[in-house]
Symmetry: C2
Subunit: 210 residues, 2 copies
DNA sequence: TCATTTTTGTTAATCAAATCACATTTACAG
DNA sequence: CTGTAAATGTGATTTGATTAACAAAAATGA
């Protein structure tokens, strides 16, 4: 199958970062080729699922041989746009926000929080890891000078919808929210939720009943 | 359908914490009844999905009426065991671990990090939010005196498998790992992965191609 | 060079989840 | 008390993802 003929299934896209990271590790360790069965062992995914996933991005393998790791990295890297830094804005610099800012995707050179905002006047102006904390109202102006591909929000539930409305107004289209409350956004805006409490609850629940 | 007749689908269980939290909010706001259509609007889930989910836990609603919020909270609360505190151990007290410990599920009185461990001698003995940072080797002994229902690990990839092996040996059965690398554990042990980098990558990717 | 072995890519089968459609039940207004 | 409207619970269907099975392709070794 040639690429982009069909819509690529969501789950296959979700696995792409895993594939990419693992293949980079293998390349660093000096490996040059891999077969779906080996890779499957490493990342605990059925080989057949891997082969199908890969097939959405072209005819990447060779029968009786496997896949060329360098080639896969090249293709997947292109799709993931690893060569251009993906600038992110952080909104909400509490404990969690601070931790994210200090880490700042250090292990992943193509993701970088480049601006940070908070509502608390007491911390505005503070610099963490070279990023100045600004009032949220500055975001709009920043967008004209900086390439911001997405927003990470640690804003608590009660303030969230208001903030998100503003983000949408500014033209932001990708938001990762650490609050569980669903927000209303237009079709064109993508919101992803990542609530730590819910994750832990689900962990314990599935251990109990799953 | 009477409860527990059939295995409850994973996805229905995963939604339970969302239902519970939302219903508690509604109760706090003084509401006493709700229909699937209203609830669906709030949490952006199809009413029919909600009704089917609920049906796994018994005949909870009444035709032409809806659901009694108090009753739902009671049932779901029982399943989620909200009345007994679920003790957690934190392993890895770096930036992220520290943030988790400071927050310590404050909004959720039934989850609580009660012990914390790290490999760095420099921070062992330090107290954060009433929790003392200990060497990991102490975990085994702690288990005999404290009820620990699960472990949250912010241990980096390279050390993870070793740590997890120890956890399994200690009898831990639920682990939430903030590192992306899959670990090998026996069938009986549940591991949940939550890698922030992967989440952001997926966010941007799905916005682009999804 | 040729036979054997390996491994892919994909069609078909399976499985799980979401949604549709509606019979049944209950509330409630008149 | 009765008829109408509303909402549930669930078989049937659809959708989407995973897995099995295998034909075709390529590598390797004799």
């Amino acid at each position: 199958m040639t690429p982009q003929n069909k819509k690529i299934p969501r789950m296959s896209l979700e696995r792409l970062p895993i594939y990419y990271r693992t293949l980079c590790n293998l390349a660093d360790d000096g490996y040059q080729r891999i077969k779906s069965a080996q890779l499957g062992k490493i990342i605990q995914i059925e080989p057949t699922t891997i082969r199908r996933d890969f097939s959405y991005f072209g005819d990447l393998g060779k029968s009786g041989y496997g896949y060329d790791i360098g080639h896969l990295i090249e293709i997947f890297g292109m799709i993931l746009e690893v060569n251009e830094t993906q600038g992110l804005a952080l909104i909400g610099v509490g404990n969690l926000g601070r931790a994210l800012l200090i880490n700042n995707f250090r292990r992943n050179p193509n993701l970088e929080i480049i601006t940070a905002y908070d509502a608390d006047p007491a911390i505005i102006g503070e610099t963490i890891n070279d990023v100045i904390i600004q009032p949220l109202a500055d975001l709009q102006a920043d967008l004209s000078t900086k390439q911001i591909k997405g927003v990470i929000s640690t804003v608590p539930s009660h303030a969230l919808q208001l903030v998100v409305d503003y983000l949408v107004e500014c033209g932001i289209t990708s938001i990762l929210s650490f609050a569980p409350e669903p927000v209303n956004v237009p079709e064109s805006v993508h919101v992803r939720y990542l609530d730590l409490t819910t994750e832990v609850q689900n962990l314990l629940l599935l251990a109990e009943l799953g």
